[in-house]
Symmetry: C2
Subunit: 254 residues, 2 copies
DNA sequence: CCATCTTTGTGCACGCGTTCACAAAGACAT
DNA sequence: ATGTCTTTGTGAACGCGTGCACAAAGATGG
């Protein structure tokens, strides 16, 4: 969960709930895996387990898309893959630019998960003139002077910011001015954008800090209980953690 | 289930809402910036603007930690930095291991946001023997054969998984068996962990897919008058074939 | 010491998301 | 056709998070 929206004027009367949208990619991944194994149909129970969610939640999520299941049987895997892909807009090609080709930018450029899901890295952009022309992931880095031209020539509407924090807002402003309307921000800064532009933030250090909080709490409880002995995995069911996706409690196999 | 049933709102209520915990790092960052500019105090309104949240929400969040503000004045920046750091557990040192030193793992190792917040990269681990000994971010990569020993010798309780999806669950199992109780997972897989282990997931491709959904909706609304909404590019020839990003079957024999 | 002004802390209401539980719908066997 | 069995789709209840609005608390000035 990291949507840095500015204001929400409730433009979703007939729309799909945001929480559901955030889970659709999860279902899609599980379904793709089933598809690759040529599994024809899947029940909500099975698919929910694979995606790590509650089956009732999954069924309700799908109900927002329409009635794509067959009672007594389950869901047709291929059909559902198509429907979710279409709903997410993955049946079309999304050219993406990555700005800031440092370690993280390079990692993103090399990340295979993009191309396989309708995203195409249209350009890599960096402010360092020494980087210009140097190929990263097979794509030559271009200088940020040409940012506007690159955006417009490629019809880019999604931009990824992987610059240092200090440069992020300026880059963001230029991207938006050039026509980008969706931004994935890896820089540890709050970006301000005009209405109509979506920003999602991914912050590695924040995720770690949240883990540290729970870790500290676990350590404190353990010391306080003075139980000692076994780490008490099954004894106490606290763990009010839960990320945005909610992970399943599962029994350790071995 | 797995909800904190141990709520005891006495003198020290330990039940901080998850949503609040997730925002504390955000406040901490804004406060740190103020601290570096030697700003002595800040009002909830100012701080909320800097963190990109509602001021009432911020005040309520802080109220869970205690009454650290002064009415008519605001919050003491230094004091608040300390209190939040303590609450998040950042006043202690957290050794972290990163498993999977590919592009992403290397980027994480180089990421400065860790060290500055109490996190210390204790070791880099990779399964490739050719990587062993090679320094990344000044730290020599160690082979995964030594994973258990590394965890135990360094007292590591937080692990970062940046391996391909296919290796993630196995790595996760080994980490947990060795004593890790918090995992930050970058691999596109649902991890099964025993009770008491926290998992947070960061998935780059999911974030992009969510953006694509909104982007499509924006485009559809805009062109709703002329065209029929969906861009009719439904018949993709190579849409659902698996990409090389190594998605593994997330389906397990439940 | 009192009045006024600023800002916090929070009671309350509302809306979203989650979960339960079950009727409806279809497959399948006889 | 009819009954049984499985699984979906969803109405309803519940709990959490958010934001409003205001009283309490303290600073500040006369």
């Amino acid at each position: 969960m990291a949507t840095g929206r500015t204001h929400r004027p409730a433009t979703r009367s007939r729309g799909i709930p945001e929480a559901t949208v955030a889970r659709l990619p999860l279902y899609l991944r599980a379904l793709t895996a089933l598809s690759e194994r040529s599994v024809p149909t899947v029940s909500s129970e099975e698919l929910a387990a694979a995606a790590g969610v509650n089956s009732a939640k999954l069924r309700k999520d799908f109900s927002y898309l329409g009635s794509y299941g067959t009672r007594g049987v389950g869901y047709d895997v291929e059909y559902l893959v198509y429907q979710i892909s279409r709903e997410l807009g993955l049946t079309q090609d999304w050219p993406v630019v990555i700005v800031g080709i440092g370690n993280l930018g390079a990692a993103l450029a090399n990340y295979g998960g993009f191309a396989s899901r309708g995203f195409r890295v249209a350009a890599l952009i960096d402010a360092d003139p020494a980087m210009a022309g140097k190929p990263v992931a097979g794509i030559p880095v271009q200088h940020s002077d040409d940012l506007e031209k690159i955006i417009q020539d490629n019809g880019v509407s999604i931009g990824v910011i992987a610059t240092p924090a200090g440069a992020a807002q300026a880059v963001c402003d230029r991207l938006v001015a050039a026509g980008v309307t969706s931004i994935l921000n890896f820089a540890p800064t709050v970006l301000s954008v005009p209405d109509g532009v979506d920003v999602r933030k991914v912050d590695l250090s924040i995720e770690l800090q949240i883990l540290a909080f729970h870790e500290q709490r676990k350590a404190g409880e353990e010391a306080a209980s003075s139980d000692g002995g076994v780490p008490a995995a099954a004894a106490r069911s606290d763990s009010a953690d839960q990320g945005p996706d909610g992970d399943m409690p599962a029994v350790m196999p071995a």
